[in-house]
């Protein structure tokens, strides 16, 4: 019974989370949510073990476990309203920046994903062999995009593509922080031969405008350049074949103190301690353009042609970012390395400063306000329990422990330049490994679930609606089903979203309650003498949330008499209908 073991663990973890939320005086909504989830988990555990729930009747066996798969969840109406709003803003920014949409299948031929994710390949979901092709669920949007570009030919024709959709990783989920096994990513990529750093600054401008419009809170985009990093390794004396392993150690500096990273370099990866110390001096550096100047003047770095190329890029980039007016969001950070092997130039990560976990302020390389994010959009570095008791066993679904209270939402977007990935596909498909004519690419992935995890408490606190219905047609007196349907049909046809209570003779309070539940602004009453005379009564209503409770604001007393034939025009003229937008996060 793998489920029981897994559920036992989930119950334990959830119970720890609840405890820590309580001791940290967390928001009441968060505590309630955690409590509710703990209850659900306990119920599921009871169902799985057949244990008698004391509150329920007799012992029952062979019960179906009603839950979504580990690391996934349903999103109900109010949550989807928020998620659709986020997607709408993101897509609007994508098209504002000249992007066209691409959609690829949710699974790929297994060989397409092979050799692209290094040791994270173990996180790929495979489909069962049912005859025919071997398939895997996509792990990101970048590899399918590169496969698409290699298939369709390499042109500049429509050089900006965006994708929004779900990707899949068999990682350890931290549900409350938006770290899922099924999660939504929004990608924007620019491909083709363009002048240096112009695509880079377009992508950074795009990312800035998305995060600003979504009001995720104060954010920073950390930048680094693979050529500078590799140049640093070079001048410090890292042997060429150790460049990527050492880079991967540096990548952990946002999780671990320098001393630990240094140990990994020297003990685990056999680097000369003197070389490690030299690296340490560089990767502690962060700042703005003044750091660039400092590095340009660094006499040791002058010995690396690679580093000089990277610095030249950075100089152009800073000039462009000033024109885009986004330099104040940027932190040039030499400790940023990014996990994936295929990056070849600029790399970046966006972090939201208000969403950090506690207890990660001990990293000397990064001040607490910035050093607290966990592994990103690309969770190549699962945050382990701080006490290092974690028992990571690759391939086993149930064996890692995560203390959710120790995990922040983490970086909410990341990306970089990858000039060789499309070329790899072209070469592999032609069977000629020397054929490297590829297509330069740069892109960014935005973690929509992370953003949702940040926005949701605010959204929920404001009591946002879950429906767009603008008019609720109500009968006074004798049911009037036919008249209600006729009016609803006309309203809908005129573009006014409308509904009614689907019973023949519903009671007046029942109908009002139904409209109120969805905060429908216009109640339209039909019946009696008014109906006979060709009039309806329109009552405009508003609600607001005060201290977490919804309160009705009586906007129009008994309502207004409107001629039935003029109703649609009348409604269209109202301030409410003209200004209300489902997506307004006021």
């Amino acid at each position: 019974m793998a489920d029981v073991a897994s559920l036992n663990k989930e119950v334990q973890e959830q119970s720890n989370l609840l405890k820590s939320l309580r001791t940290s005086n967390a928001d009441a909504n968060l505590i309630d949510e955690a409590k509710k989830r703990l209850g659900d988990l306990k119920k599921a555990l009871g169902a799985a073990t057949g244990t008698k729930d004391p509150k329920e009747g007799t012992k029952k066996k062979d019960r179906l476990l009603l839950k979504t798969p580990k690391g996934t969840r349903d999103y109900g109406p109010t949550e989807m309203f928020c998620r659709e709003y986020v997607e709408r803003i993101v897509k609007d920014c994508f098209t504002s920046h000249g992007g066209s949409c691409l959609d690829t299948p949710v699974f790929e031929r297994k060989e397409i994903l092979a050799g692209k994710y290094g040791e994270d390949a173990k996180l790929i979901f495979d489909l069962q062999d049912q005859g025919g092709e071997q398939l895997s669920l996509r792990y990101d949007h970048t590899v399918p995009l590169a496969r698409y570009l290699a298939m369709t030919g390499l042109t500049n024709t429509s050089s900006k593509l965006w994708q929004v959709g779900k990707v899949y990783r068999r990682d350890n989920p931290v549900m409350s922080k938006g770290r899922m096994r099924e999660f939504s990513q929004a990608d924007f990529d620019i491909f083709g031969q363009w002048d240096p750093m112009i695509p880079e600054s377009e992508v950074l401008s795009l990312l800035t405008s998305i995060l600003t419009r979504l009001e995720v809170g104060e954010f920073t985009i950390k930048l680094n350049h693979r050529k500078i990093l590799d140049g640093i390794f070079e001048v410090c004396g890292v042997p060429e074949e150790k460049t990527r392993p050492i880079s991967s150690a540096v990548d952990k500096l946002d999780k671990l103190p320098w001393a630990d990273v240094r140990l990994e370099m020297t003990l685990e990866k056999g680097l000369d301690p003197d070389v490690a110390d030299k690296i340490g001096e560089y990767v502690k550096l962060k700042g703005g353009e003044e750091l660039l100047t400092k590095l340009e003047e660094d006499s040791v770095l002058k010995n690396s042609a690679r580093a000089q190329e990277g610095l030249k890029d950075m100089a152009i980039l800073f000039r462009l970012l000033r024109i885009y007016k986004i330099t104040e969001k940027i932190s040039f950070d030499l400790s940023l390395a990014r996990g994936l092997d295929y990056y070849t130039g600029l790399i970046y990560e966006a972090i939201v400063e208000g969403s950090a976990p506690p207890g990660f302020g001990t990293n000397p390389a990064v001040p607490p306000s910035q050093g607290t994010e966990s592994a990103v959009v690309a969770p190549s570095k699962p945050a382990k329990k701080a006490s290092s008791k974690s028992k990571a066993k690759s391939g086993d679904d149930e064996d890692e422990e995560i203390d959710e209270s120790q995990v922040g939402v983490g970086s909410i977007a990341a990306g970089g330049r990858y000039d060789n990935l499309v070329g790899m596909f072209v070469a592999a498909a032609s069977g000629d490994s020397k054929k490297v004519a590829g297509l330069p690419c740069i892109g960014v992935s935005i973690g929509l679930d992370r953003i949702f995890a940040i926005l949701w408490p605010k959204w929920e606190g404001r009591g946002m609606r879950a429906k767009e219905t603008m008019a609720y047609v109500i009968s006074v007196g004798d049911g009037h089903l036919e008249q209600r349907i006729e009016l609803v049909r006309e309203l809908r046809e005129a573009g006014i979203k409308a509904d009614f209570y689907a019973k023949n003779k519903p009671k007046l309070p029942t109908q009002f309650e139904a409209g109120e539940r969805d905060e429908v602004p216009f109640a339209i009453l039909i019946g009696g003498e008014e109906l006979t005379n060709g009039y309806v009564r329109v009552k405009e209503q508003r609600w607001q949330v005060v201290d977490g409770k919804k309160e009705k604001i009586q906007a129009s007393g008994k309502g207004e008499l409107v001629k039935r034939t003029e109703l649609i025009e009348w409604l269209k003229q109202t301030e409410t209908l003209r200004t209300w937008s489902s997506g307004k996060l006021v």
Copy 2:
């Protein structure tokens, strides 16, 4: 090499399709598309077998096959523009009818899907056992919805839910007709205790308004009622245990002539030939309300309480459909049975009359104009090669043949009432099979790929755009990168989607070509004396497609001088910016 066998077959099929398109004088675009696909397939086959392509260089080995998995495809920018338009209309209709959004994971625990799809269960995609839960890709949206409703408690609170997303079936794909292994469905469901047939007519009204707004062409919604059908079987003398198998035979009447269906009933399923003949008299009937009157007066049917319940429902429904003004779209059709077991009341299917395949006019029960659709949204009945040479082997990916020229787009939407599905989950989860307190539900699934297959040729013929960019900023003379970026940034900030050519000193014609490729309506030229004096030149351009070729209509000659500081207001006042909508299918 399963791939080679599969590709050989695909090449053969595609070549047949191309032949039949040519002999039938099909649309030139269709022929071109088929030709292109044949070329791609041959190339892929060459790559898979390592065969030398005569046009290419030396023989190459171990080449990566660059393709999407069988039954799936990428959608590029122009196609996505059309698909996003379709989704937008569908969602707008969903919210107009009071729906709230639900999103469930793309995979479910395997046991959730078990026992829901009868013999079609073999079409379910399973995930590989990598430790932990056994998972399957969702087969439709209905079962995840029922699981969600059973988990969250049974309330009427928000009684209308919609879902849009991809579902998965390992069926034999017919790509050109939108029958895929990965396909998009849009579902709308109403749950809860409501008065008879009001939810039914809401769903039918919704479906009508969606198909009308999408301009899919003339369509018919075929209706039947499971209780009437079961009542007919009852009075004709079908033993209770044979009700579902006989119903499943009737369901094939849209594919096979009555004689074949009769044989299945008598020979294969052991039904008394006299009973079969009696059934035959009923299931040939179709029509409008006059058919209802005829059945109400049928003295034999009076002996079935079930049939009488169904007829009572139909009488209420017809009255409501008149109020909704949609009776002319409806065909009451006793041959409609629908494959899925869980339907308990009204069932329906929408078919588009102009999208039928050739050669299916021989069904005596259905006139040619209606009897030509293939198995729907729920492809429970794969259309076999007309010559019955098909070699169906369940579980094998590569073994069924489909002659695409013999397949129409088929029904584009289908659904029905399913009052027991949620109750099944509740009972299974409680471990008490007697606990059947469920939730009545009714819903409809709309096949978005089928609709896309119908709309796409029309859309493509009109040369619709693939980007929303409204202004393309062009430098005259010396590059002016800084000024171009500044202007683009301001335009985007003001909500005007804008772009520029990402080079330092691009040539004038290159920039014009780039804007033209995306049909950007406003070219904004900066440079020279005008720039110094604070002016830009705005050139409005339009294109139209004549005989499949794009032609520019010079709308404003040399363009208009506009003050740089007034540009944004000036643009916002233009007719083009005020009226242009990306989704307009003019």
